[in-house]
Structures are given as structure tokens and as C-alpha cells.
Symmetry: C2
Subunit: 169 residues, 2 copies
């Protein structure tokens, strides 16, 4: 729905190829978007046809020639307008969250095991994320910390026998 705008945003930090954009998307979880290369290439084409980016081919020391895109004035304007649209609460859309929502359907040992695994993922992510130089990064840090605390509390509650939890109706 808004991959083209995300790409315009990233191109605001300087010219880049489809490959660059794809790897940046994949590596920066604070960004709030991820997309496969197979989606990035067609999106760049559409942006090019729309006049929002310009293309320059450049030889690369390694690999085939790069197609570097850079913002045009129209692209910059389009991005600024999109950026100014009001923020909405994101609706979560993740299989993991659904599994969490039905955690209580599973036996206590399985619940504990799942929580521990998840907790470790969170801890890893927190380590890699640490360094909050922008609002979005600070947000991500805080949320990861809160979720880590939650996971520990849930695990402790299971261990202490007092489940605290009711079957979801």
C-alpha cells in the first residue's frame, strides 16, 4: 500500500539501487516496513514511470551494473505530502501474536518453553537495537524492553504455579 512512499523516504538519504533499498529494508526493523526484492524492483519501475525518481546506470566493481535511482523534485514533494498524513494506530497482523493470544490453550510446560524462546528473540533484538538516536529507535527500544519485562513476568507466573491466566473464552 505504501511501499513506493517508503522507497521515496529511503531515497531521501541519497541515491540507491534496488538492491541497496532491499537490504536496508530488511536490516532496519525500526523502520516499520519490510519488503522483498521482488517487490522493490517493480515498485521502482512504477516510480520511474511516474517521474518520482530518475535512473542512472553505473558500473560496479563487483557484480553486474547497478541501476541507481535518485529522487526528483516531484518525488520529494510526493514524499513530503505522504509524510504529513496523520498517524493511525497500526493494526497488528502477525501469526506470532495470534499464537500468543491462544497461549493458554497449551499445557504449562509448552507455554513456558514458547515464552522462553520468544524472550530470547526479544533479548537478541534488544541488543542489536541499542542506540536510540531517533524517535523511532527510542520507541523501538522502549517497546522491546517492555515486552521483555512482560515475557519474564509471564514465565515467572507460570513457574510459581499461580497461573494468573484464564482460558480465553
Amino acid at each position: 500500500m505504501s511501499l513506493p512512499h517508503v522507497l521515496l523516504a529511503l531515497l531521501g538519504r541519497g541515491p540507491a539501487s534496488g538492491w541497496d533499498l532491499g537490504t536496508r529494508l530488511a536490516k532496519d526493523p525500526a523502520l516499520g516496513w519490510d519488503a522483498d526484492l521482488a517487490q522493490v524492483y517493480p515498485a521502482l519501475r512504477r516510480l520511474l514511470r511516474g517521474g518520482f525518481v530518475a535512473l542512472r546506470r553505473r558500473r560496479s566493481s563487483k557484480g553486474p551494473p547497478r541501476r541507481e535511482y535518485r529522487l526528483t523534485a516531484a518525488g520529494r514533494r510526493e514524499f513530503r505530502e505522504w509524510l504529513a498524513e496523520p498517524l493511525a494506530l497500526p493494526k497488528p497482523h502477525a501469526a506470532s501474536l495470534v499464537r500468543l493470544a491462544f497461549l493458554e490453550r497449551r499445557p504449562p510446560e509448552a507455554r513456558l518453553a514458547s515464552l522462553h524462546l520468544y524472550r530470547d528473540l526479544l533479548a537478541d533484538e534488544l541488543e542489536r537495537a541499542s542506540s536510540g538516536t531517533t524517535a523511532a529507535r527510542r520507541r523501538r527500544l522502549l517497546l522491546l524492553e517492555a515486552e521483555l519485562a512482560w515475557a519474564d513476568a509471564e514465565a515467572a507466573a507460570i513457574l510459581s504455579g499461580r497461573t494468573l491466566s484464564k482460558e480465553p473464552r
Copy 2:
């Protein structure tokens, strides 16, 4: 990708029609999934063809006849297996988060206005969410509280002039 499994999960709480499932999905944000009715109906058909649910038509006191689906043994098994799969960190995928990631590109007054709007959305959601009877609900509460605190801190930082923030590269 896993809407069918989400529907199986919801059907575990008792028989329901497509309409029921659609409204439950829309109303419960702790669930971690949302889907349009236009997606629910075909998904139920596929589940029916696959033998995971059974159908019974029932007259309704209001509106056209309901098609109520209930889990079969196969559906229950399929759900349990899906539920046992390991939890992964959800990759965010929301335009709002991308806008947040480029907040620093906007002038301070606009930043502040956006944050205030977002803050109010969070506060509303927090009020409607309060009552954590399951792990998933407790998680959602904690995360909303953490995000609210973040939004307030960012707004305060902008107001006090010390922006604390660097342009994203």
C-alpha cells in the same frame, strides 16, 4: 498466510458464522490479526472443502439465514499443530511506523502535532483495552503504556527545545 488458522482458533470458542468471525477479528486488537469479511468468506469455504470445519444453516431472527461453522476433529488437530509452531518476532508493517521513522524530517510544530494526535489514539486504545485476563491482553496493555510514555517523552523533549533527535541519515 494464516487467516485460516486464525479462524480455526476463533471457532475453538464455539460455532460461529462468517459475520461473527469478521466482527470478532475487527473488535479484538489483542488478537493480533484483522481481516475483512470479503476475506473471511472465501477462507471459510476453503476450510469447509478441506474438511476442517462443518457447516450448518440456521434461520436467524433478524437478517438472512446464518451459515454457522464448527470445528471438526481435523480442524482441531490442524489448529493445535499450528499453535505449537515456534514464535517469531513479528516484522512491523505499518505506514504509521514509517512516518514515525521519518518524523525528524518535519518541522518541530508538525512533529509535536503528530505526536499529540498519536498520543491521544494510544490513550483511547489503552482505556478500551484495560482488563488483562490473558497473557496476550496483559502484553498489549504493557506495550500501550510503554508507547504512551514514549510519546509523552518525545513531545516533552521537543517542547523543551532540546530536540535530542538527529536527522535520520
